[in-house]
Symmetry: C2
Subunit: 201 residues, 2 copies
DNA sequence: GTCTATATGTTGATAGAC
DNA sequence: GTCTATCAACATATAGAC
């Protein structure tokens, strides 16, 4: 989709995309600079012409992605729709992010806890707090306006939603490589339905 | 609870428990044999008196835990309760496993995909298939007997349940270290309610 | 922008003394 | 059952030629 508007990604961006895929598939620690260089068709030393360190690569991958994602969340929070619609939109935007940035989401899911313990990645903890505030705000607004059950444990509900949505990155495969699977929109439809109405008949 | 019935764990079991905690906290690759030896108060070379390799340690940790867990699942499948009760029990048994074996569950969640690519850990893929069969069987029985909605996408429903239940290991903290949190039974109660009836009012 | 060559540290694992 | 001592492999990163 957006490939048309960015016809010539810089060499730097190409390398970041290659690194993101490897970090997502094998893990950050498990991916060597040689792996990245090999996949790019250059030698490991050449990577250091573009980046300070392996760490700075994952840093740029994560911070760029998160800036975009939280821009979407902010827009939803600021809208004047009803709470149920906003919660639905937050779910849909998240599944869409998994569809369009699967590597970035996977890296965040797998490495954020560990990386967050280093000063350099302190912003990951901040974004985590911000994310919780987004979901909790939406759920509380839903309870207050009467569209959600009043007996909900808001924190637990937030955790269940966050977990189910984001861990989908482990099994969802984007359109290009999909064979008989669901689109991200279909997955979101099914989940929103189950979340709101349950599976009981 | 069970500490009374196993007063003297073998040195081998002590070392496995230490390794399991480190593997869960830092990841398998990220944990060095020196980390494990340090935590045990011995030197890295001494570990090789007890185990062939770091790999054999995680192997024993995972296979032991899975044998126990699937024993529980088999018992549920074989029972003559109605589908809804069996599904509830499967959820509860899973949250209980997170409570009692948090390190083992975390290791499986974080490392199974990667380890599963090696011959030695082929049983992880088998167990994964077995797990899917357990959940899908229970959901299909629920649909067939009319206790669950007939329009459910069984595979997606399975994935949502599996993900929400098991990823809880990332935030749930067992009783010893809990401060104002929920017991595993309370977490299971809340999730079963949301899963069956939804969050909508 | 990439390569050659290499520094420097860390890793899993081994052999044999105690 | 642990320690001493050590190896070979592999890791990230650097300096300077092309």
């Amino acid at each position: 989709m957006s490939a048309v508007s960015t016809p010539e990604p810089t060499r730097r961006d190409q390398l970041l995309a290659i690194a993101a895929q490897l970090f997502a598939e094998k893990g950050f620690k498990n991916t060597t600079v040689r792996d990245i260089a090999d996949a790019a068709g250059i030698l490991s030393g050449s990577l250091y012409h573009h980046f300070d360190s392996k760490e700075s690569m994952v840093d740029e991958i994560l911070s760029t992605f998160q800036a975009e994602l939280f821009g979407d969340y902010d827009e939803i929070l600021a809208s004047d729709e009803d709470a149920r619609t906003k919660l639905e939109r937050a779910v849909r935007v998240s599944f869409e992010a998994i569809d369009q940035h699967p590597h970035e989401v996977a890296i965040y899911q797998n490495e954020a806890d560990h990386l967050g313990t280093f000063e350099r990645f302190g912003y990951l903890a901040d974004r985590n707090t911000q994310s919780r505030q987004v979901w909790v705000t939406l759920i509380e607004e839903g309870v207050r306006t009467g569209v959600l059950r009043p007996d909900l444990d808001v924190t637990l509900t937030y955790r269940f939603i966050r977990d189910t949505v984001w861990v989908a990155v482990r099994w969802y495969r984007p359109a290009q490589s999909r064979g008989g699977g669901h689109t991200h929109t279909e997955v979101a439809d099914q989940y929103v339905r189950i979340l709101l109405d349950g599976i009981s008949s």
